[in-house]
């Protein structure tokens, strides 16, 4: 059995103090390497909070979170930043591509803060674009690309640096059904290649494509299904 990439134990997150809002309570979740997990739930259910914690963008208030076996729940802000740079690739609903950089430069941005090798960054970025089928669009500015193409570039950026975990926040939220379908088959292919994939979505069709669905309601994991 593959090692757990993500391991949440009794994780809770409380915002504010007057009155405190419990966005997450007692969440236990383990995700194996190579799994494709969809996190679904109505808005306000806490799935964004869960995503932020999984992405090391936020600390859990209680509980422990291990990523690749490293307990990150008590790491400092700077250390969390380093974990993000090395272990996590992000894909956002609004793509977050820099409008003034070409597709290739946007992908290369992923290794900017990672330390690591400086040589061959261009080649690796090209390979990542190849992986999402966007190599021929490498010199295009994002404004010249369709939504689906922009999201593919964003995925290529997230893949660069071989993260342990690819976190996607509503990746199909701004896409039409044709682009959504094509993105799903890309996710499918990536999952087959052994990438650990977590997709937060409210789209049941997207969730249905995933290997495993985690349903979250009122800050708790309600039900898990295959």
């Amino acid at each position: 059995m593959a090692r757990d990439v993500v391991e949440l134990q009794a994780v809770g997150r409380t915002y504010g103090s007057d009155p405190p809002v419990e966005a997450l309570r007692g969440v236990d979740l383990a995700i194996h390497g190579g799994e494709w997990v969809a996190i679904v739930g109505p808005s306000g259910s806490g799935k964004s909070t869960l995503l932020n914690i999984l992405g090391c963008l936020d600390h859990p208030t209680v509980g422990t979170y291990r990523i690749d076996g490293l307990d990150v729940s008590r790491l400092s802000d700077a250390e969390l930043t380093a974990v993000r740079a090395r272990s996590i690739g992000f894909v956002f609903q609004s793509f977050h591509l820099l409008g003034y950089r070409t597709a290739l430069e946007n992908v290369m941005l992923a290794e900017l803060y990672a330390g690591g090798l400086r040589n061959g960054r261009r080649e690796r970025a090209l390979a990542a674009l190849e992986r999402v089928g966007m190599a021929d669009r490498r010199e295009f500015l994002p404004t010249k690309l369709s939504g689906g193409e922009q999201q593919r570039v964003a995925i290529a950026r997230a893949l660069l640096g071989s993260p342990s975990l690819l976190l996607c926040d509503e990746p199909t939220g701004n896409l039409d059904s044709a682009n959504t379908a094509s993105l799903m088959s890309l996710f499918d292919a990536l999952a087959r290649q052994g990438l650990t994939l977590v997709v937060v979505t409210h789209d049941e069709e997207v969730a249905a494509t995933a290997g495993r669905v985690v349903r979250i309601v009122d800050g708790r994991i309600d039900q898990e299904g295959e």
Binding site: S48, N52, G55, L57, D58, D68, G69, L70, D71, V72, L75, D77, A78, E79, T81, A82, V83, R84, A85, R86, S87, I88, F90, F92, S94, H96, L98, G99, Y100, R101, E105, L109, A110, L112, Y113, A114, G115, R118, R157, D169
Partner: protein, 411 residues
């Protein structure tokens, strides 16, 4: 067994500058307008400093030619000693001073008291021509003409022999000659002072010192002693070598009156360096203030635009944080962007300022003078302005929380 946290992310300076540069290049028009204030500020400062230095040098340059080598010695009026003071300058002053190091030329000059006698040209029958005029009469030693850098229009200057023999000859200044109706010396004109006839030896066209000579009738010193009872030279005009003014000014009174040099007063020009500094200070104060104000306005402009840019690029900040940028990387990027804007403004401003200095100098045929450090220091000053004005916006950018930034920024 728990793995170690990964090392903190690093961002080499080269990469940082490249990121900041790309950020700026994405908005060239905005950068251009933002930088304008700094351009004007730095340009005004460079132009002001350059022009005042150029003008200062120009003034000193003119000043050095004549005035910086000018020393005049006169007896102290009303000094204790009465007659002794009036006769403190000896007849051989010229010879005594020429023995001093640093004295190029020297000559004595005195006003002659002609007791109200008029000067007349030889009467001719011209009812309209005025021939009787009241002209000042002066007495000069032979060396004086060289010491005042006199230029002849016609004739010659009297020499030592004329003075010793007390020859009755005169030199007319250009204005005096015009009033007397004398234009040349070829027909050996003569004039009367009172009842005595004097031959006109020379006509002076120009002098660079003692301009009153141009309106005067000047006789040799020996002639003035015999005809008008001149008791002693009234002043000594000295031209020194360049840079020798102070030495000559100190030594001349002792050379002229070793027994009591305090009886003599020396008029020497101020130190040229002090004069130049004075000129520069007067010019500088106002324009430096103007330059400083426009630089301040430029700084506020950069601060304002950088702050707006931070708010606009919240999404980009969130993305960079998600990609592993530490807060300091974000702050550094915006700092470098504003510093580069300031640097650009400084470079353009320094160039424009230098052009202004060169242009103004060319139109006035001055020699442009600019401190060599100026073209280097001005862009640095611009960069410093940019850095300072970028501080607050950068801190704001660094404080942005990635979670909120990613949610807010939909570009």
């Amino acid at each position: 067994m728990s793995p170690e946290p990964p090392p903190p992310p690093r961002l080499p300076l080269r990469e940082l500058v490249r990121e900041a540069g790309a950020g700026l290049l994405a908005r060239p028009a905005r950068v251009g307008l933002t930088v304008l204030g700094t351009v004007i500020g730095v340009g005004a400062l460079v132009a002001t400093l350059g022009l005042s230095k150029t003008a200062g040098n120009q003034i000193v340059g003119r000043f050095s030619e004549v005035a910086a080598t000018d020393v005049v010695i006169t007896p102290v009026p009303g000094a204790i000693g009465g007659d002794e003071a009036r006769t403190a300058i000896p007849w051989d002053a010229e010879a005594r001073l020429r023995r001093l190091n640093g004295v190029a030329e020297a000559g004595t000059l005195s006003d002659v008291d002609v007791r109200g006698e008029l000067v007349r040209s030889v009467p001719i029958n011209d009812p309209l021509g005025q021939t009787d005029v009241q002209l000042p009469v002066k007495a000069a030693s032979p060396g004086l003409w060289r010491a005042v850098r006199a230029r002849l229009a016609a004739g010659r200057f009297p020499d030592a022999g004329h003075s010793e023999r007390a020859d009755r000859i005169v030199v007319l200044g250009a204005n005096a000659a015009r009033r007397l109706g004398i234009r040349n010396v070829e027909q050996q004109p003569a004039i009367f002072i009172g009842d005595r006839l004097y031959q006109v030896a020379g006509l002076v066209a120009k002098v660079q010192r003692q301009a009153s000579l141009l309106g005067s009738v000047t006789v040799p010193e020996g002639t003035a002693r015999r005809d008008f009872g001149l008791v002693a030279p009234a002043s000594v005009q000295v031209e020194t070598d360049i840079g020798a003014v102070e030495v000559v000014a100190r030594q001349a009174p002792r050379a002229l009156h070793p027994a009591n040099p305090a009886l003599l007063r020396v008029a020497a020009p101020p130190d040229p360096e002090t004069l130049r500094a004075g000129v520069e200070n007067d010019l500088n104060a106002l324009f430096l203030l103007l330059g400083g104000v426009s630089l301040l306005v430029g700084a506020l402009g950069i601060a304002n635009v950088t702050l707006v840019s931070v708010l606009e690029r919240v999404g980009e900040i969130g993305l960079r944080r998600a990609l592993g940028a530490a807060r300091r990387h974000i702050a550094a990027q915006f700092l470098v962007e504003s510093a580069v804007m300031g640097l650009l403004g400084g470079i353009v401003g320094a160039s424009l300022g230098t052009l202004v200095v060169v242009g103004v100098s060319a139109s006035r045929t001055w020699t442009p003078v600019l401190d060599p450090w100026m073209p280097l220091a001005a862009p640095l000053a611009g960069a410093l302005v940019g850095l300072l004005s970028g501080t607050y916006p950068s801190l704001r950018a660094a404080a942005v929380e990635p979670v909120e930034a990613l949610r807010a920024g939909t570009q």
